[in-house]
Subunit: 140 residues, 3 copies
């Protein structure tokens, strides 16, 4: 059993921009000598999340729509009214509901993802930002 | 430390159908020689999720109701309008919000679940389907 | 590789009360002899959750507001109508959506949390309760 930790930064655009990182996660696994275990993908921010989607343009658009409905951008969020200059209260609320950590098993040196599952980062913030990820393998 | 991986398929009915898999997860743990560690339960699909609930008929009904309110079935989701034959845009959006991975610690050969916690699969799709799960133990 | 398991109880007030447990998680890590791996924080209840937020008063208030909008308290939830004496159907629905398990990597004896990330427990129940947590490290 051993632990392998990889770090990566990606440039994101905000406003529910989605970036597919599946190929990168597969490469980190291939570069390790591990056969079976888990990979944990962790986003080091409060206004971005990691999740699994079927990655096609319709669902990318629907994901933005559903978040705009569930947690609308609104100057009245107290994060905005209490903290001068802040406009991203909704970004925080979306990020904490969607989450920053995803754990996926691997066996025989392969992620156990199903046919349509892709790993993506979504950026809920109101401006372009660089986002830091931790990809950590634990296994044998 | 070692890794044990189990696979299971279950028949699900769609439309927020819930199936309790707690007994199966306990059995996988009992059949291993592991004393302490984590079990990761991973659903290999985008329109089904794994979660913890108090499993009683009222909450099963309320869970369907709350999802019908938060992310309604709607022919206008772009997943449906852009992809001929698709009607499950809402199923994808629900599945990605609820998530496909759950990690639970175990100690002294027992899951650390609280009294009322049960592990369930929920199927958000629009038709009956077979669902594949990975149950992976890492521990000592 | 080894596994370290810690348990902790905290007193919570319900009604979306938030308690910051980051310092405690750091202390459990410092008290172990582990350099790299994951910590899993698990809440042994169905009406409380663990999550990451930027912990400032505006977002604590907004978090309560957003949950009151997304999943309102309502005597008509079937958990309440079918089970005499129950009034916390909304607490269960919120808890199962936000989740009871959080996995965070650590390296060089430090959590990989970003600058603004804090680990908190949120209690969605309708009364004051003691809440039990499992904090489990797996690493080397």
């Amino acid at each position: 059993m051993s632990v392998h930790t990889d770090q990566r930064s990606i440039q994101m655009q905000g406003d529910s921009h989605i970036e597919n990182i599946t190929v990168h996660i597969r490469r980190v696994l291939e570069d390790s000598d591990l056969d079976a275990g888990i990979v944990t993908i962790f986003v080091k921010h409060t206004t971005a999340s990691v999740l699994i989607i079927e990655d096609e343009p319709g669902l990318r658009a629907d994901t933005k729509t559903v978040w705009d409905r569930l947690v609308p951008a609104d100057p009245a969020w107290q994060h905005n009214t209490r903290n001068p200059g802040e406009d991203n209260g909704h970004s925080h609320l979306r990020g904490q509901l969607q989450g920053q950590s995803l754990t996926i098993p691997f066996v025989e040196r392969q992620l156990t993802l199903g046919t349509w599952q892709e790993i993506v980062i979504i950026d809920f913030d109101t401006r372009s930002r660089q986002r830091d990820l931790i990809i950590q393998l634990i296994g044998e």
